[in-house]
């Protein structure tokens, strides 16, 4: 891949600053030792190693970073954050990248995860709690895989480990207001 650094550094400067602001991290702290990648449990399945994602950000390669599958594979286990010799909280940077990709509609590499998050949060917004059976079925319907994990679902129902009806908290209005105000605040950022 050929990169015009003069251009990418200029074009990506705003984005880099925004990620630094939101995550509270200084991207230039990373000296690319690769310790995050060595400990990352999902690096084996990723298209860019975690330290390479940081490198993309350092170089202003916004679109490239947001298009990686890596940011969506990240399971938020924080092994990288725990081991970074420079104290960079990479797990938090990954959060910021997922949020940025979502806001810019660039979720092609993470459609499944974004869909899951959406269905999960919809359940929380409506009931105040996650309704596992409802969200697994909703997810299956939306992605056209109606029987995915049906064996597990049945096994759980048999063991009374799934509630048929959602458990709804009393203050659902308060939760809906939290979602609305948090959404407005994120938009105003």
């Amino acid at each position: 891949m050929t990169v015009n650094l003069t251009q990418s550094l200029r074009d990506g400067a705003d984005f880099r600053r925004r990620i630094e602001d939101q995550s509270g991290q200084t991207l230039s702290d990373c000296y690319q030792c690769g310790k995050c990648t060595a400990g990352c449990p999902v690096a084996f399945a990723a298209d860019a190693a975690p330290h390479q994602v940081v490198r993309m950000l350092q170089l202003g390669l916004r679109d490239e970073a947001l298009a990686t599958r890596t940011i969506w594979l990240c399971a938020a286990c924080s092994t990288c954050t725990t081991r970074c010799p420079r104290g960079v909280d990479l797990a938090r940077i990954m959060d910021c990248l997922r949020i940025a990709a979502l806001r810019q509609g660039k979720v092609r590499a993470g459609r499944q995860v974004a869909l899951f998050n959406n269905v999960f949060l919809e359940s929380v917004r409506k009931y105040g709690r996650a309704h596992e059976l409802g969200l697994a079925m909703g997810l299956n319907l939306k992605r056209g895989t109606p029987l995915k994990d049906a064996d597990l679902g049945l096994g759980m129902l048999k063991r009374r480990k799934l509630r048929l009806a959602p458990s709804r908290i009393r203050s659902t209005g308060e939760i809906a207001a939290i979602f609305r105000r948090a959404g407005e605040m994120e938009d105003g950022k």
């Binding site: 939101q22 449990p41 999902v42 084996f44 399945a45 594979l73 399971a75 938020a76 286990c77 924080s78 092994t79 954050t81 725990t82 909280d89 797990a91 959060d95 910021c96 997922r98 949020i99 979502l102 499944q112 995860v113 869909l115 899951f116 998050n117 959406n118 999960f120 949060l121 929380v124 105040g128 709690r129 996650a130 596992e132 059976l133 997810l139 994990d149 064996d151 597990l152 096994g155 759980m156 063991r159 009374r160 480990k161 799934l162 509630r163 458990s167 908290i169 009393r170 203050s171 308060e174 939760i175 207001a177 939290i178 979602f179 105000r181 948090a182 959404g183 605040m185 994120e186 950022k189």
Partner: protein, 293 residues
């Protein structure tokens, strides 16, 4: 001793044996758990992958409720624990965020709120009380203590060494079990990816099972409902995908504690696992093998 109790969504459903065994153990140790009234979901990974403010606001509402109760909070689920502690740390550090969260949740926040403890941390502090209540020592049962990721990381919210934790090992030793030394104590099982990237989860889960078994474990012991549903619930999928024949029981640490304190298996929900827990019983309490359901 009285604690506010935040069970989280899983303990009311997929992890109800964790709830059952937590209550059984606390009851026997004289710890009163008072469930947070009208608690809401912590938002888990989905919230912090979607909206910065929501990821703090959802746990923050629960923190405000706990503050009103004026009790320390006990949290069994590793994911909930991490979200509550992260929100609390961020609120303590950032007065601007506190103001914003007051606007979002309509509830007040001080710099320092009530203490949030993971259930493991809480019970690890009760070693002496536990010792005096062990009536059925587990007689050298070889256990692999699996702490997973969210309970101990990032270090800012950890109560144990994030790389070499020992709190669970210590508790199980008091119960007469023999915690084995193994290398995957804090590896991640893939947790939240189980509904979106099962292949990744199955590989990670297979590795954990294989390493535990290779180190001589007779069962895995966990402190997180997500770990449990991957390791126990998906063990069959692992066997199918990799042609393995794992039959490794996966217990919550509270179930092991309860067992040692003489609780009946059904009381601890040991009959609602996917992988049979009979092996553990045959070894520890042959007189009391759980009823099949």
């Amino acid at each position: 001793m009285k604690f506010a109790y935040y069970p989280g969504c899983s303990l009311h459903a997929t992890a109800r044996e964790y709830d059952l065994s937590t209550r059984a153990v606390c009851d026997r140790l004289g710890i009163e758990l008072k469930e947070l009234p009208d608690w809401n979901c912590c938002g888990a990974t989905s919230a912090h992958s979607t909206n910065h403010f929501l990821s703090t606001a959802l746990p923050a509402r629960n923190l405000a409720i706990a503050d009103e109760m004026g009790l320390e909070v006990a949290v069994p689920c590793a994911a909930c624990y991490q979200r509550l502690r992260m929100a609390q740390n961020d609120l303590a550090r950032d007065p601007v965020l506190r103001e914003k969260m007051e606007a979002v949740t309509g509830r007040p926040y001080k710099e320092e709120g009530v203490r949030v403890k993971s259930l493991l941390e809480l019970l690890a502090g009760q070693g002496e009380a536990l010792k005096s209540r062990v009536v059925r020592p587990l007689d050298g049962l070889k256990v692999a203590c699996y702490y997973g990721c969210l309970l101990l990381r990032p270090p800012a919210v950890s109560f144990d060494d994030p790389e070499h934790p020992s709190s669970m090992d210590g508790l199980l030793e008091i119960c007469g079990a023999e915690p084995i030394d193994w290398g995957y104590k804090t590896e991640c099982c893939g947790a939240s990816l189980s509904l979106t990237d099962e292949d990744v989860v199955l590989k990670l889960t297979r590795d954990i099972l294989a390493v535990a078994l290779g180190a001589g474990a007779e069962c895995l012991v966990v402190a997180c409902p997500l770990c449990h549903s991957n390791l126990d619930g998906r063990q069959g999928h692992v066997n199918k995908k990799f042609g393995t024949g794992f039959q490794l029981p996966v217990l919550y640490f509270t179930q092991v504690l309860g067992l040692a304190m003489g609780a009946r298996p059904e009381e601890l929900g040991m009959n609602i696992h996917f992988v049979s827990t009979d092996k553990v019983f045959k070894k520890c309490c042959p007189e009391n093998t759980p009823r099949k359901r």
